[in-house]
């Protein structure tokens, strides 16, 4: 694997990780807060 391919593949991993963290922080947190609101 060439250096540019390696860098591109690393970028993809970073982008996907960032996306998942952001999704967990929005959709996940909104769900948890709504569940808390329902429970109490």
């Amino acid at each position: 694997m060439s250096a540019s391919e390696e860098r591109r593949s690393m970028n993809v991993v970073l982008r996907k990780t960032l996306g998942f963290v952001l999704l967990a922080a929005t959709l996940g947190v909104a769900s948890c807060q709504a569940a808390f609101f329902h429970a109490f």
Partner: protein, 293 residues
Amino acid sequence: MRSDGRSGPDILGGRTAPERWVPEIRSKLEGRFEGLILYLFAILPMLMGLIALGRGRTDMLIADVVSAALIVFGASSIRAGRKAERAFKARRVAKAPTLPRKALGAGCLGAAAFLLAFAGAGHSFMGGLSFGIGAAIATLLMYGLDPRGEKAVSPDIDTDMFRAALDAAAARIEELDQTRRRITSRPLADRLARVVRRARGLVETIERQPDTFNRARKMLNLYLDETLTVARKLAASGLNGADPAIEGKFTEALDAMENVMTEQQQKLLAADALDLDVQLEVLTRRLKSEGIH
């Protein structure tokens, strides 16, 4: 293990093992599991819906059910979008899907996040909106945007027509393969398997060299129809070696088809268009005269 010291590129079609198998396995695994994680986000709204139902809170129940439905629909749409994107990338000639499935999925997940934050967790409208936009951006970061444009062959060939012809040919070859499984005579089934392999090779050649399409189109349609007719008759006849005379006739016909197909593939590559038509006509006449067609 081979004792002559030669490694395995021959069995792998001239490529080394990692080149050939790793991307195939990876793409299969990606296709099966990619996007499944998104469904997990629907579990909590479903549980909350049960709680709301138990407490008799209809407004909360509706918000929870709609959110869960949006998440499930969004996840399915993203999985379908990724599948379409993989197919688009894998083909040399293709048009991007008209429906932006991944963007639609991201929109659905964003709407679910907005609904959960605004109606479920009691955030302000703007607060809920920022949750929604954040979730949509996050989904697009994870799965990317939908492919656009088209991978055209040349201005002379219509991409849609090219794709439709090749897909139809692939479907006919698949039908031929299915028919082959119903043939009881082993030698005839083996011969037909070889014809199927040749036909696949021919389609691959056209896909690899789209400039051969105009010359190969007629042959692709007619030839596959002829072969399919013979295969259906073979499967319906239920031959199992009891009548060597009829079996011999079919064997001869299939051998002729295989040979013609091999020659045609070579001629396609050599751009000998006129000869293709003549050869096709000869084959059709021969099958008719033998009473197979």
